[in-house]
């Protein structure tokens, strides 16, 4: 990853409100690398505990990647929306397995459950990637879901990171998403 992009990620966390919500738009090419750099920045913050919603990478694969990249996974809980669809889940202490990314209500409930179970004051929600929801749901449904989720991040005083890949985004959806967050950081250029 270019130094310029690393700086962009670091700077994204400057000049934010006490509780913040960021959208990162990433190109598919080096998606994972940037995703890890962002997560690393989030977890650097004092006493942060993160809830990682994975929409396209199974927990078992994701945890290996994160550990390989020296991410402190002790500070993370997971909501996995993909493994059950593949029929390969086994019980994990730190992960909730949901049926599929189609059931947006279940995702909302799972976030509520995990967040309320975490005692830390500094909680972050990490959604990877938002655009996957558009594969499984209509744009209007995802927009409503996003409005609720971003509202939830605000009312629960969480910090939030939403990731998205540029090409998958419907322009109207992208525009709405941008309005719900405090800052949009385009890492696709």
């Amino acid at each position: 990853m270019k130094t310029e992009q690393i700086e962009k990620i670091k700077n994204a966390f400057n000049d934010l409100p006490e509780h913040w919500l960021l959208l990162f738009v990433i190109d598919a090419e080096d998606y994972l690398e940037k995703n890890i750099a962002i997560l690393n920045e989030v977890l650097k913050q004092e006493d942060t505990v993160g809830v990682y919603v994975t929409l396209n990478r199974p927990y078992s694969v994701l945890i290996k990647i994160l550990e390989k990249n020296n991410i402190n996974t002790d500070k993370l809980f997971f909501i996995d929306c993909i493994t059950k669809m593949l029929g390969t889940e086994k019980e994990e202490k730190k992960c909730l397995f949901l049926e599929n990314p189609q059931n947006l209500t279940n995702i909302t409930i799972a976030i509520d459950e995990i967040i309320s179970a975490i005692p830390s004051k500094n909680k972050s929600l990490f959604v990877d990637p938002m655009s996957t929801l558009l594969i499984y749901n209509r744009v209007g449904t995802v927009s409503k879901f996003l409005h609720v989720i971003t509202g939830k991040i605000r009312v629960l005083n969480l910090n939030g990171v939403l990731l998205s890949t540029e090409k998958e985004l419907d322009p109207e959806f992208a525009d709405q998403l941008e309005q719900f967050v405090d800052k949009t950081v385009d890492l696709s250029k």
Partner: protein, 184 residues
């Protein structure tokens, strides 16, 4: 005595001269514009509807930007939707969700009626209404707001982002005395 104009931006002074203004910009510019507007109007009674953020978050951002909020009645359509606790300060009305246009309309008209002098409706994130309502319903809502405003001597500023071929913006533009469209 000449009225003191509390503004940093010439465009904002001009906007004060119109009865109704529609501003269509990209999200980044719109955030700056709405703050400029609220700064310009901070000594006037305002009903401020923000469909993109919760009351607590909006207030904390405005305070960070050193804006006076004493004259603002906030309308929050998100907190209840997101399952948040509804506090009860005097300067906010919570509406269950953005498809409850009737409650929104009642809140606006009550505010208009309660203040005999100059007052403003500032509506930010207007296009979010499209997530929850059909276009014709939104147009009827707008028409009704304009009728109320005209009967109560209220001024309207609506701020929206623009998506290519946005038919709602095209259909509602004719309601306004001034349309500011700054799209690249």
């Amino acid at each position: 005595m000449q009225e003191e104009i509390v503004t940093t931006n010439k465009k904002m002074i001009e906007l004060k001269n119109y009865e109704s203004v529609l501003i269509v910009e990209d999200t980044k510019s719109l955030r700056v514009t709405v703050n400029d507007i609220l700064k310009t109007l901070q000594d006037k009674p305002i009903i401020y509807i923000n469909l993109t953020n919760t009351y607590n978050s909006v207030v904390s951002n405005l305070k960070k930007d050193e804006l006076k909020i004493n004259n603002i009645l906030f309308i929050d359509c998100i907190t209840q939707l997101a399952g948040g606790n509804v506090c009860n300060p005097e300067n906010v009305l919570f509406i269950k969700e953005p498809n409850d246009l009737t409650s929104l309309e009642i809140a606006i008209s009550k505010f208009f009626e309660s203040i005999p002098d100059e007052k403003w409706l500032v509506f930010y994130g207007f296009n979010i209404l499209k997530i929850y309502n059909k276009e014709d319903i939104i147009l009827r809502f707008i028409q009704s707001i304009f009728e109320n405003a005209s009967a109560s001597n209220a001024k309207i500023i609506i701020l929206s982002t623009h998506v290519k071929n946005d038919s709602l913006i095209k259909k509602m533009a004719h309601f306004f005395e001034k349309v500011v469209m700054e799209i690249e």
